[in-house]
């Protein structure tokens, strides 16, 4: 009997770090940035709130039907977005707390775009076998910081299908636009980190 209890306790203790490594905790200091920001968005929706929100999505509106389909498999949606009047209102240390968590083997950085102007974007995915079990987007600009964490099974195709609706730009139909507009850039940008995906 004692051995059984000991086994259960050991199993419980071992399971905690595994679970914790999968969860991304948005650092508390991010909330302090809201005081300095001219505009801030704070969205925290756990599984129960997502289910509740899902009940209020219309069955007749095709856009909302699409969202409902997407949300059904999610465990949480967390967004912190700040816009500042001046540059230098946040430091990279504020973001570093999240990057550290994303260094665990389950997470892979699929895209990392850097610019000398400080306009950086990173996309991380949580691999769950063949499926994507989560997505984190970190976008930093001199006067803007955005962190998006979508927890749960997410199909990027479903997310891209939302493009063109509800104020989301049409993802994947931008090649022509980028070709015509990307000629006079003076910034030196490093290319995306797709090699990490290939690894």
């Amino acid at each position: 009997m004692k051995r059984m209890w000991l086994g259960l306790i050991v199993a419980g203790v071992l399971s905690v770090p595994v679970r914790a490594s999968e969860d991304i905790k948005l650092p508390v200091n991010l909330d302090k940035l809201a005081e300095r920001a001219s505009e801030s968005v704070d969205v925290t929706l756990d599984e129960s709130m997502l289910q509740l929100a899902s009940k209020f999505l219309s069955k007749d509106d095709p856009d909302e039907v699409q969202v409902k389909k997407l949300v059904g498999k999610l465990k949480g949606v967390y967004v912190r977005s700040f816009e500042f009047e001046k540059e230098g209102q946040y430091s990279m240390a504020d973001v570093e707390a999240i990057r550290v968590q994303l260094k665990s083997p389950q997470w892979t950085r699929i895209v990392g775009v850097k610019s000398t102007k400080g306009d950086n974007s990173e996309i991380y995915i949580h691999r769950n076998g063949d499926q994507i079990g989560g997505l984190v987007v970190i976008a930093t600009e001199p006067k803007e910081l955005t962190i998006v964490h979508i927890d749960g099974q997410i199909n990027p195709e479903e997310l891209s299908e939302l493009g063109g609706h509800m104020g989301i730009p049409e993802i994947g139909k931008s090649k022509n636009k980028s070709k015509t507009t990307g000629t006079s850039s003076d910034s030196k940008s490093k290319t995306s980190n797709k090699e990490e995906e290939e690894k």
Binding site: V41, V43, L52, S115, S121, T183, T191
Partner: protein
């Protein structure tokens, strides 16, 4: 035997009841029972419907209070849940909008860099 005794004996002498005595007694008993029943219904009807509203209110007040409180709680919770749900829906749509915009922006930059070696948007 005195005349008085004579009268008394005559008065107390056993007499057989008339032939319809039993039926008359039974009929009377049934009538009385009917009267009682009618009076009972009248009393109940009167108490239930014609008592003063104050008396009725006093009787049903605790039940009404419990009923009203419970319905109030149910309605309030439902309303609260609806407000929460609508707020959550708006938050969800906003979150997906931000996520979509940021992914789109990143994609434009990657495509611009891959095709032309420049950044997007042009600086």
């Amino acid at each position: 035997m005195t005349p008085f005794e004579e009268q008394l004996k005559k008065a107390l002498a056993r007499q057989e009841p008339s032939a319809d005595f039993t039926s008359r007694v039974l009929a009377e008993a049934a009538r009385q029972e009917q009267r009682k029943e009618a009076a009972g219904w009248r009393t109940w009807f009167h108490k239930t419907w014609f008592q003063t509203p104050l008396m009725q209110a006093r009787r049903f007040a605790p039940v009404m209070v419990v009923f009203l409180v419970m319905s109030g709680v149910v309605v309030y919770r439902g309303h609260q849940r609806e407000v929460q749900g609508r707020a959550a829906k708006q938050q969800l749509l906003q979150a997906l909008r931000i996520a979509g915009i940021k992914l789109h922006h990143t994609q434009l930059r990657v495509v611009a860099m891959e095709t032309e070696g420049t950044d997007w948007p042009p600086q």
